[in-house]
């Protein structure tokens, strides 16, 4: 088949068996240390791995890094500091056999596409974070790779800059016919850019599915936190509910609510018009309350409270995992 077929293991880090179609954007999410970066590096051949990497029906496992048709944008860009932006982007095409002039013209073309065409003569240290990340992505795409590996492309950028770049990247990825693996820790990236989401946890695939489904019915605590849902696992089934449907009371509620938990407030943070509190007890649960309620209930870290939620607000589902 064409596209990307993975059955690889980086000992001690990550083990993934999955496929991705040409043109597909795979959002790889998971907590720190779940093996996201290791997965990308293993596909590029930068870390030793066992098993199979096949791209467009060609085995890559035995190929050295430079013969793998990848484009990789690294977390901290890693633009060559002694080369100009244009020379950075031209570096790949030049190595792939283009003449100096052809490589430069390809590079200029890519810089233009990312809106940084007039910055070609600048050195990386003269670029802003957003500009440098555009150059880094242009550099990764300039060799026309079959697999594009983006490691946290928006990390470290200002919120506004990241939002702008996200929109641009979405446009480029829509017209890109190779497979993209996009590592991100941001739910918005996964939801807006990805066609399919791979959730990694402890080095293994914990959930695979379309972004909407993964966001609505997360199977891991990490994704639940990312999308702002409470998820409990009971008797092999999952129960999720929104923090806004949680009621906070100073004492054990007597009403009809079937689900109730005591706990201690550990943090408070503004969330839209509401205040989102994190309560730690048997579980870690989020609840949204009004600022007035915060004052009335004297909510502060260390305060003991009861949380409850109505059965009608709870979504119950099975872990639909292959081989489970």
């Amino acid at each position: 088949m064409s596209g990307l077929e993975l059955g690889l293991t980086v000992p001690g880090r990550v083990s993934v068996a999955a496929v991705a179609q040409p043109g597909q954007v795979v959002g790889v999410i998971g907590p720190n240390g779940a093996g996201k970066s290791s997965l990308l590096r293993a596909v590029a051949g930068l870390v030793p791995s066992r098993g199979e990497v096949r791209v467009d029906d060609r085995g890559w496992s035995e190929l050295p890094v430079r013969e793998r048709d990848v484009g990789m944008a690294f977390q901290d860009q890693l633009l060559f500091p002694h080369l100009t932006a244009l020379e950075n982007v031209a570096f790949g095409p030049r190595n792939r056999g283009a003449s100096r002039a052809a490589a430069r013209s390809t590079a200029q073309d890519w810089l233009d596409r990312f809106g940084v065409g007039d910055l070609g003569r600048r050195k990386p240290r003269q670029l802003s974070g957003g500009q440098a990340q555009r150059v880094a992505i242009a550099r990764a795409l300039a060799t026309d790779p079959r697999v594009l590996l983006l490691d946290e492309p928006f990390a470290g950028l200002d919120v506004g800059v990241a939002a702008g770049l996200r929109v641009e990247l979405a446009r480029h990825l829509a017209s890109y016919d190779g497979v993209t693996l996009l590592v991100t820790h941001d739910a918005i990236d996964a939801l807006t850019l990805a066609d399919v989401v791979w959730v990694l946890e402890d080095g293994e695939l914990a959930q695979v599915g379309p972004p909407r489904e993964v966001a609505a019915r997360p199977l891991t605590r990490h994704v639940a936190r990312l999308v702002g849902l409470n998820v409990l696992r009971e008797n092999g089934r999952f129960r999720s509910f929104s923090p806004s449907s949680v009621t906070v009371s100073p004492a054990e509620p007597a009403g009809s609510a079937r689900h109730r938990w005591p706990g201690t407030v550990t943090s408070l943070a503004p969330h839209g018009d509401a205040v989102r509190i994190l309560v730690t007890g048997e579980h870690e649960l989020l609840a949204d309350v009004t600022p007035a309620a915060v004052a009335e209930l004297e909510l502060a870290p260390g305060r003991h409270v009861w949380l409850s939620v109505k059965e009608t607000a709870v979504d119950t589902y099975d872990a639909e995992r292959e081989g489970d």
Binding site: P64, R66, R139
Partner: protein, 272 residues
Amino acid sequence: MPHNVPMSSTGARLGRPPLLLVVPAALGALLLVVPLVTLVADTPWGDVREQLSSTAVREALSLTVLASVVTVVMCLLLGTPLAWVLARVPFPGRSVVRAAVIVPLVLPPVVAGVALVTALGRNGTLGRLLDDWFGVTIPYTTTAVVIAHTFVSLPFYVLSVEGALRSAGEEYDAVAATLGADRWTTFRRVTLPLALPGVVAGSALAWARSLGEFGATITFAGNYPGTTQTMPSLIYTQLQSDPMVARTVSMVLLIVSILVLALLRNRWLTRP
């Protein structure tokens, strides 16, 4: 306390610096400064031109310049690849090789000279073979001077460049590989340019070390005017016959050393 407060007021607030520290500090500084000041003061400045124009001085000066420049070239050609292998290629025994490369740094130069004689001397292990097979003898030639200088200078160069290669980071090598570069291209276009400050600093260190080299050279190459007599060897010889010339020639080396130091401080030793 903010950084911009002048030192004097910091000192005033924290109390007087204790004599137990101030007195040894002053003695140490005097020990370093007084000999150099007397050297400058006692130099017969009026006769400098005349003393430096003697054949012996001119020959020693040109040999020193030649030897130090060739030494730097040897360091560039041999030391750069050596530093790269030590920084980038994992192989069994790498730490042993690195230690062996550094040993000449702490080796007394005379011992270095004896070691070179043992290896390359007329009856040395390699020297005998060179003589038997090619009729080549190395000791007491200008070649021996360059070999001795390279032997003592190379460790300074390798250490400096290896440090620069390590701090330049292997991550850039990985980036270059994903962009299709082979290792030679990566070395040429990425690794070496990034390590350039280390290469320059290492060259300057090697050059300065070569300029002052005496012990290994006189042991292995001798002290023959015109072929193996460098400036330090000349100073040693003149000190016994004409101390004034020795001082003048020393003065020249002192000036050169200070120039190197100033250059290094301005360009490479202070981080931006």
